[in-house]
Amino acid sequence: MNKYFNIARLSLKERLTYRGDFLFSSFLRFLPMITSILLWKSVYSSSEQDSLSGFSFKQVIAYLLLVNISRMFSSMPGLATNLARDVREGSIKKYLLQPIDLIGYLMSYRIAHKAAYISTSLVPYIILFGSCASFFDTFPTPVGCAYFILSLMLAFVIGFYFEVCLGMLSFWILEVTSLLYVVTTLSFFLSGHLIPLDLLDTTGWLDVLKNLPFAYLAYFPAAIFLQKISDDDLLLRFFIGVLWALFFFLLSRVILYFGLRKYSAYGA
């Protein structure tokens, strides 16, 4: 257990050394928010309706701000690509030799990474949410907040194991990076990062979209916070989310087992 803690400690240090440009790039990332706000303002004012698919203008903006928080937990930059590269280049070998579990190692690294990322992002995020406080009409109850935090944990777990599975496909597929690119692009839309999933009600795919694992990466936590999910629905949604988490967890174990077996069979 100790070794995982040390790994976590090291990657935390790594993250903190880039504090300077980090603040700058966090700031940069929020400028497009202005464009989104103006765009949706135009849409709402010309539609002459206060609510579109159950979202008011303020709620749409609040949603777009909140998905940033969901993504803070569920995005795993470099996880799949680095894993794919390690498999391709053979550095995976050490996991056959050393008494350390690959996925466990990756998990400790990620948790530390996330902790550092979140703690260093606090200041820019507080500034952002502070200046946009007017968009938040309602706040969730303490129970709602608890559910919100749970959904963020869920987003992390699903995001992590999903990317691990993708990365490990490189045991069998050569060009995993391009495949990753396709999946990331799809995920961007299907997770509700670009637009609240509810607004896609006219497409007829809404029910499917809400049950896909992608929805848990961005949409779900934001929707909970904005109280868009009714109480009876909430438990069902969590249940499905946990099933997805379990599914990817097991899948990653299975892939790792067969992948390592293939590796030792061919001597990499």
């Binding site: 103006l38 765009l39 849409v43 539609s47 391009s178 006219t202």
Partner: protein
């Protein structure tokens, strides 16, 4: 001039051969572009399912805009983006020297030597969207407008190129090119929607800075307005002039940064 065209042809040919060597990669990249197009159009359709116009642009005019933006983005990504991103790597590794040794203009060589064929379909698809939008609008585009629209479109592309070049030249001083991509993405964000969106009061500073000083807001808006909305003579002329000015400025700055590289590299 002819020689430069022949060289372009060479660059295009060899880039294509290089990309086809990794066929599945190439096809997947094209697939990604198509998915993005799908996302873009779904977003567009969703918005216009809820509202009949956005900032004074009706559905068909907006589609024209989306097509023009997509084509411009495709144009810049196909011819310039990859080369500009590679520039900071050239500086870091010292391989920039090889580019400077060739009996050819460095800016031409560095910014055009690779053609990204996987994004080239965007240009065609963008123009298909434009044609479709025209068809939906009903009345055909006046003949005299077509060449002028294309010129204005190229002015917009040139403006985007000049901005990209300015960012690229900075790599000589700052080796990190991650920020380059982020700042570029911010720029494209401003080109992405009609400028009338920024018409509210508190957006005045944005309109001032990005409408006149770094006129990203005009790059796509003005050509499209020229084609399908009321023609704004002042802005149209302004776009043309500022595109030429920025081209010159960015070229001067780029050459200046190369001079700096040549006095400082060891």
């Amino acid at each position: 001039m002819l020689r430069h065209l022949r060289l372009m042809f060479c660059f295009a040919k060899f880039s294509l051969l290089g990309e086809l060597a990794f066929r599945s990669n190439f096809l997947l990249k094209i697939l990604v572009e198509l998915i993005w197009l799908g996302i873009l159009l779904t977003f567009f359709k969703t918005i216009f399912g809820k509202s009949s116009n956005v900032a004074g642009w009706n559905e068909h005019e907006f589609l024209f805009f989306v097509g023009a933006y997509y084509a411009l983005e495709g144009f810049v990504e196909t011819f310039f983006l990859e080369n500009c991103v590679e520039f900071s790597e050239l500086v870091r590794s010292g391989n920039l020297d090889f580019c400077l040794l060739k009996p050819i203009d460095p800016q031409f060589f560095i910014t055009l030597r690779r053609v990204d064929w996987s994004t080239a379909p965007k240009i065609l698809l963008g123009f298909i969207m434009i044609s479709f939008a025209m068809y939906e609008i009903g009345k055909p585009l006046e003949l005299w407008k077509v060449p002028l629209f294309l010129i204005l479109f190229l002015c917009g592309c040139s403006l985007a190129y000049s901005f990209l070049l300015l960012l690229t030249a900075l790599s000589v001083w700052m080796i990190r090119n991650q920020s380059l991509m982020e700042v570029w993405w911010l720029f494209t964000n401003l080109m992405r929607y009609p400028r009338q969106i920024y018409d509210s009061e508190w957006a005045l500073p944005i309109r001032m800075v990005f409408g006149f000083i770094i006129p990203a807001l005009l790059a796509v808006s003005i050509p499209v307005e020229f084609a399908v909305k009321e023609i704004n003579i002042e802005f149209t002329l302004f776009l043309f002039v500022i595109a030429v000015v920025y081209f010159q400025l960015s070229r001067m700055f780029f050459n200046y940064s190369l001079k700096y590289y040549r006095s400082a590299s060891s």
